[in-house]
Symmetry: D3
Subunit: 157 residues, 6 copies
């Protein structure tokens, strides 16, 4: 591919035409990291062993955001996601939280933007809840891990 | 601060009460990087010199997303932003695009989540438009650069 | 069924995976009651005989809300509803308004949450319009009346 | 008051004009009950003692819905809520969950519709998560408990 | 004024900075016409004398759309409208419906875009409801009629 | 057709039931004009030859609005658009901008409301960006140009 599919010959924004593509099962997985200071890590650890909502709220926000992807990203098609998963794992040794997401669809186009949006908004929500303790957090390494279904088959990072 | 402001004593999600805070001018700036391969960098460069909408579409998506922050992040307050700026700069030598955002408010609470959301969604939109050429892009280094206004004064990364 | 389908083994929020379910015709009906004082009942009665918008506005709000169910209820799937009906009936003798809703879908999952959301928001809208006259209203008896289609066949309250 | 404020003399939908009302602190509290069968009650109890997200997800959904009230209820004014709280309490003896909500605003109009919407959507979300175990649940007794601020002062149910 | 306020020196989209503008009462009125064939006019007339919801549904859609203007128009500021009115008048002799809208705000920027959006969406809704009878309708003459408040004072079309 | 499909026998708002309609390829095209004064025309012309975002921002706003049609127009069905195009052409001689839109769907109902909404919001966005230079603009001639697919075949204005 030597051109951007989302920009036409005149250099204008272009939504790809998927009218004639066939519907089939598609999946995408994404990941992102939130880097926190040790005080924030400590508070999350404490919550984990009790009943803190920190991870729960981030998970819900990520799932809801996946469903709103086409409302946020101008050239994304509206899709009827059949499954969204968001997982958060505290990696205390590396002073970070790893967030992974999975989106599934029985439809005409890939769902990697949905998986990336879910991971992004879960990370932003975690940031929001921890920012009073660590305003210098960083969100890093957002990328697609795997993509299956569709004409191009499986893509693995 | 030794506790998360967004989690109450029972470990439950908690929207901070800003009812009695005074309204004043607040600003926040954020940044994020999108790392692309050389083919994508080349296509963006070409667009820059012509009239490609790549940066324009990302900018609009970022500005619109800032206005929807409280709709995406569960514990964010609804705010009447008075100004949103999103800038994209191609740093071809480092094979990346730098995105910076600025949000302003005359209100009761800080706007760093709005600035982060604007930068995030601008980056996701850039990703969407370039993914056919480079599916292995990475979005990195999302963080707050500066925050002014409010009781705590100026905070600089 | 001995477990919640929407909570996984780790106790986390879980969107049910409907990727492999077949698409077929599904319907759900719900009802709810709004209990009002005699002054509000009288004003609605008068409007009925003239051209009051009280019931009309509630109906429109309920129909629009049905379409936004997956945006409000975190683990609901986005669906392409093919029909939404909201009906309001003044039952003056019982000093109440009965609201019923019907949702239809040709799709992969049931639509009872859509029917409940339509009835709920229609009731809230009626409440909003009558609250200056009767601030002590109560919304009661929201439930699913019937559900058809899908693997489990017909369910009747 | 002998007329509906939300319907004009011609019987048409009417958004109350609050342009000239002064801004002051306002609060409203609402409650609602979800009635469940003993199997659902048992599963929630078990989750409570572990780390089930059932109440957490409902709380987040209720908080987010409060912020979208003016988007759902046609004649509600857009408001900048300064605080939203949603609480869920299992009342196992009565086979029900009690949900209470609190909304606060420094603004020109009351927030009882916001409190009612928060409680409603939290109840609908609880329903969604429990419906596989108990499809015959009922949502009952949605009402305003208390309202303070504004010209009319304190109102108590 | 010799430049567009919404485009900066580099030709990029620019949200006007209203941070330092003072808050005051502002109003805007807009109008639009929907031109219909005689069959559609006849059906609306019949409804008018009975209890047709044609105008009622359009009015509600227009009011709700006004509240979502900043979500639709990229460079509009989020605003807390204090009043929205939408009126529809059948002008059977000219085979058209005239729609007028009024928006009010106690805030930092004008509300003509909100008035135009209200009128627009009311007209689109009328079109939707009449299109089976007259697919060749035309929506004409959308413009601002009057604008008051703010530094520039009163503007009259 | 001698009745409005969107109003039932009782004169109430009625969403057409498309449950049993078959899915097939459908398209609709719409157009609208924005009439501007010569100063605004001049500034747009200048931008065209440089890199002004005026048309780009309007195009993005129109595309995004098409995807939100069922959220704005009460009786429209939610649809999964497979393609949206918005084009803007400066017709300097006639002192106007012509906006055309195209929507495509593989689904159960026509997409003319989506095409009209895209054109409308693109026009409103253009208005917003030019209003400081020409507050007396007019948006004219919004109509469907062509509609294909579905039982009724091709319709041409």
């Amino acid at each position: 591919m030597t051109e951007f599919s989302h920009i036409n010959a005149a250099g204008e924004a272009n939504m790809v035409d998927v009218s004639s593509k066939s519907s089939n099962l598609r999946e995408a997985r994404a990941e992102v990291y939130v880097l926190l200071n040790s005080q924030a890590i400590g508070l999350i650890q404490r919550g984990d062993h009790h009943k803190g909502d920190i991870f729960g709220v981030s998970r819900v926000a990520g799932i809801m955001a996946a469903k709103r992807t086409s409302d946020l990203i101008p050239l994304c098609h509206p899709l009827m996601l059949t499954k969204v998963t968001v997982d958060l794992e505290l990696q205390a040794d590396q002073q970070r939280v790893r967030i992974t997401s999975l989106c599934k669809l029985d439809g005409k186009t890939g769902v990697e933007m949905e998986a990336l949006t879910a991971a992004s908004v879960a990370a932003l929500t975690l940031f929001d809840m921890c920012k009073a303790v660590d305003p210098a957090m960083r969100i890093d390494g957002l990328r697609v891990l795997e993509k299956t279904g569709g004409k191009s088959g499986r893509w693995l990072a």
